[in-house]
């Protein structure tokens, strides 16, 4: 086991092992809250908080958790952080909490969280786990921001609610509705496949 701090753990999640485009995990919140940039940013920040929190906790308790019951323990840790996030958002930003709706508590079953806890945090020290959580969380945030900016730009002609394309732009309404999300991610994945990078599936 490495004791040193390795910054590679941080950069890996950003692009090379990006949880969305390469590993294809945790797609549900990605598509559901990407209709507007503001909500997407909120989701990204909430996600980073939960991922870093659960990674640190799992890393701290990794030596005292019995092998057989580690998965339920990890799930309880994640659920605790999700609940903290849920209630703090409801208190500090009720509008965002309302927009994210059921997708916020549903972070519990997000494969990225349990995946990182099991694959990384349960085997590495606290600092490396924190870096890994930050990197993966930022990778998720970047992916959701890319999708949200495409959808908001085409669907409303705005970015962060600021009008870019002017009054005469006729919005492509399909983009902010459910089918738009599927189409955008389909084309993004096709672009990624053709540009190169490792092919998946």
């Amino acid at each position: 086991m490495k004791k040193t701090v390795d910054f590679k753990n941080f950069t890996l999640g950003l692009w090379k092992d990006n949880p969305i485009f390469y590993l294809m995990l945790g797609l549900c919140p990605l598509l559901a809250v990407s209709a507007a940039l503001k909500d997407a940013l909120g989701m990204g920040v909430a996600f980073i908080f939960v991922l870093v929190g659960s990674n640190i906790t799992v890393s701290i308790i990794r030596k005292i958790v019995p092998e057989h019951i580690r998965i339920p323990v990890f799930i309880v840790v994640i659920a605790t952080f999700v609940t903290i996030m849920d209630y703090s958002l409801a208190a500090f930003s009720p509008q965002l909490h309302k927009n994210l709706g059921v997708y916020l508590p549903l972070m519990v079953v997000n494969c990225i969280l349990l995946g990182r806890a099991e694959a990384f945090a349960s085997k590495n020290n606290v600092i490396n786990s924190t870096l890994d959580g930050l990197g993966m969380g930022l990778g998720f945030t970047i992916a959701i921001l890319i999708i949200a900016s495409i959808r908001e730009f085409l669907g409303q002609g705005t970015l962060f609610g600021i009008n870019i394309l002017g009054e005469n732009y006729l919005p492509l309404l399909i983009m902010i509705m459910p089918p738009g999300a599927f189409l955008v991610i389909g084309f993004l994945m096709a672009i990624k496949n053709s540009v190169g990078g490792r092919k998946k599936c």
Partner: protein, 196 residues
């Protein structure tokens, strides 16, 4: 207002108008991952219906008769996920003992279901909409039947897609997403039917 809703409407709304995969984007991981094969799609679909209906009823009872009277609503996320996980385990043991044929048919899909967001989502939504027990039951049946219907429909289309001439970059997952988008467009057409 929701309490007066007819259970037929609740079923239709959960089944088609607010289809859990096409409109609410839930259960996508398993939807994209498993629909490459018709047999496994049917297995997964039926297993999801079974577990959702049971787990939703149990978590409704737990929420309304244990968490609410003791002011413990903030524990609902932890409670529900543990309920579902332990219920799936419990069910696996029972089915293996009492109905080996069924156990064989479900195979690996039963343990996999724990992380399927369809189940947790319908438990949460049933609470959020303040349903009565019967309404919650109908809602759970509708949601899971919607998932089952869509995954089987999609699997039959994807089997044909394997033989279609496609650009290299679109093969596999990208074209599956684009096709999902087109089906989702169809489901969007039902939106005007009524509101929930």
């Amino acid at each position: 207002m929701l309490n007066e809703l007819n259970i037929g409407f609740i079923f239709l709304s959960a089944f088609i108008v607010n289809n859990i995969v096409m409109i609410k984007f839930l259960g996508l991981c398993s939807f994209i991952g498993i629909s490459t094969n018709m047999r496994s799609s049917i297995g997964m679909g039926i297993a999801v219906v079974f577990v959702t209906v049971m787990a939703c009823s149990i978590s409704w009872i737990l929420y309304n008769y244990i968490l609410v009277p003791f002011n413990l609503e903030y524990l609902r996320t932890v409670t529900f996920i543990l309920t579902i996980a332990s219920f799936v385990q419990f069910e696996e043991i029972i089915i293996r003992k009492k109905a080996p044929a069924l156990y064989k048919a479900f195979g690996i899909y039963l343990p996999l279901i724990t992380t399927n967001c369809v189940i947790l989502a319908s438990a949460f939504l049933g609470i959020d909409y303040k349903f009565t027990f019967l309404q919650n039951l109908v809602f759970a049946v509708g949601v899971s039947a919607g998932y089952c219907f869509v995954i089987i429909l999609f699997a039959s289309m994807r089997e044909r897609l394997d033989n279609a001439p496609l650009p290299e970059a679109f093969k596999g997952v990208p074209i599956a997403f684009i096709m999902t988008g087109l089906i989702s467009l169809v489901f969007l057409g039902f939106k005007g039917l009524f509101k929930l």
